[in-house]
């Protein structure tokens, strides 16, 4: 199979803490892959390790045939990886437009993508001149995703897109994620199993800093025992 991202048994430490103790993630090109697991299992750290924000001490990360170990995080991102962090990290002192513009890697990125972004998130068109802080939670999430769309990213890492959002907005966001998965591969961290199960085609379950099982989402949906064991809910 053609994997765009291949994470091989990475170990990551934050200070003294051995957070990831062997995580493997294989992401097929053009798919949506969900990282599942409980609070504190190490899903967010996995994303950050891929990006080099918390560089893994052992193991190997390969993106599109290129080994990322030892690269600086901005160089990794510049290879074409977009990141939507858990708490959105909208820049307060920047307007909505600037929040998008700052993600440009080449001049004119935003102008080329503007139409596409507005068709995905019509709300943003109206909000474009406002300061980043004045947005509601849902709007901030839209903006954070839109920001990752500005440059031509081949891979999007999205952390907890549904957290703290109202149901209607979650559905809207799921539509958006489906839309953009047509253009790039998506890795999704999601607590909410129903959201994840509807979006993703493949999954990896992370538990205690280790990837314990992975496979096709359609299989997982049938496997109540696994869901129960690792995800608790449902």
């Amino acid at each position: 199979m053609d994997y765009i991202l291949d994470v091989q048994s990475i170990h990551t430490f934050i200070g003294q803490y051995h957070i990831l103790q062997g995580v493997d993630v294989q992401v097929p090109r053009g798919s949506i892959t969900a990282l599942l697991g409980r609070n504190g299992a190490g899903k967010t750290t996995t994303l950050k390790s891929i990006l080099g924000l918390t560089p893994p001490r052992e193991g190997k990360v390969t993106f599109d045939g290129r080994e990322l170990n030892g690269m600086r995080s901005f160089d990794i991102a510049a290879l074409g990886i977009g990141f939507v962090p858990e708490h959105r990290a909208i820049f307060r002192d920047l307007s909505v437009e600037e929040n998008l513009k700052i993600a440009e890697r080449r001049k004119g990125d935003l102008d080329r993508k503007r139409e596409m972004i507005f068709s995905l998130f019509p709300d943003l068109k109206r909000l474009i001149g406002l300061p980043g802080t004045s947005l509601s939670g849902g709007q901030q999430q839209m903006l954070a995703i839109a920001r990752a769309l500005v440059p031509d990213n081949r891979l999007l890492l999205i952390d907890e897109p549904s957290e703290g959002l109202a149901p209607v907005i979650i559905e809207h966001m799921m539509d958006a994620i489906r839309q953009l998965s047509k253009e790039s591969t998506v890795v999704l961290v999601e607590q909410n199993f129903l959201v994840a199960s509807q979006l993703a085609e493949t999954y990896v379950i992370i538990e205690e800093g280790r990837s314990v099982t992975s496979g096709k989402m359609s299989d997982l949906k049938q496997d109540k025992a696994t869901i129960h064991r690792y995800l608790g809910a449902a």
Binding site: G15, Q16, Y17, N39, A166, P167, N192, L194, E207, G232
Partner: protein, 256 residues
């Protein structure tokens, strides 16, 4: 039998700018019960706990403990009333030993905090209380290791030990099992249950994991979007359709 209310929230509300994190939550916790609060991420559980323990001040509403309004008491007072609180993210003194961590907790309510001419080891009552607690949470072998070098599960136990040490009447536990290996969870839950039953304590538990609490709780409050969605016994909550859907993501009709 209806026992007396020990802790009560009256229309508690907390706003951060435009965001309403906790929206007019009212809640009564009965004495000697194990009361769980569950809800999806971002439902406002931790903020609600912070309001109860005085870590943050509410925008409006009251917190009443044993008939006394403690809404605007500074956070270091609440423990003196008898409310202990643990944190979702492990919050300990990382460079001090396990023993020292718990000893500091045991000493807090005593009258000897300013006896600076005697070494701390001279105060035997705190030392013995510390050993008692260390034994109870099962960290005896680790007593003299620095807290930050403990594995995560043991740090959660230490966290529990630190709020047990001053022997509070009400324990507010914020996701005590967060990040623990699944095989360790029942052990810790059993410990919490034992503490609650044996010590006649009231325990409030924020949990993410429904299954964990269903078996142990006397009462469950489900929070969603900063509001109370439902309240009742585990049986009632399990039967509640609205809770099921809300907890599973707030999507109305999903076909799994």
């Amino acid at each position: 039998m209806e026992s007396e209310t020990i802790l009560e929230a009256v229309n508690l509300r907390k706003q951060f700018g435009a965001l309403v994190a906790v929206e007019d939550v009212s809640l009564k916790v009965r004495k000697n019960s194990l009361h769980a609060i569950i809800g999806p991420n971002g439902a406002g559980k931790t903020t609600f706990f912070n309001l109860l323990s005085g870590n943050i001040e509410p925008t409006s509403g009251q917190v009443i403990f044993k008939g006394r309004d403690i809404t605007h008491q500074p956070v270091h007072r609440t423990i003196h009333f008898g409310i202990g609180r643990s944190f979702q993210i492990t919050n300990i003194f990382p460079n001090l030993t396990v023993f020292e961590n718990i000893r500091l907790a045991a000493q807090a309510l005593g009258a000897d905090n300013f006896k600076f001419w005697q070494p701390a080891s001279a105060f035997k009552k705190y030392e013995s209380r510390t050993w008692e607690v260390i034994e109870k949470v099962g960290l005896k072998d680790r007593a003299l290791t620095p807290a930050k070098t403990l594995p995560h599960g043991d740090q959660r136990k230490l966290e529990l030990g630190m709020i047990l040490a001053p022997d509070p009447e009400v324990l507010l536990l914020d996701e005590p099992t967060a990040g623990m290996a699944s095989e360790q969870v029942p052990e810790l839950i059993a410990l919490i249950q034992e503490i609650q039953k044996a010590g006649n304590k009231t325990v409030m538990l924020v949990e993410h994991n429904m299954n964990v609490v269903m078996s142990v709780s006397d009462a469950i409050t489900v929070m969603h979007q900063g509001k109370v969605l439902a309240e009742g016994t585990p049986a009632e909550i399990t039967a509640n359709k609205e809770v099921q859907t809300a907890y599973l993501g707030g999507l109305y009709e999903l076909n799994v």
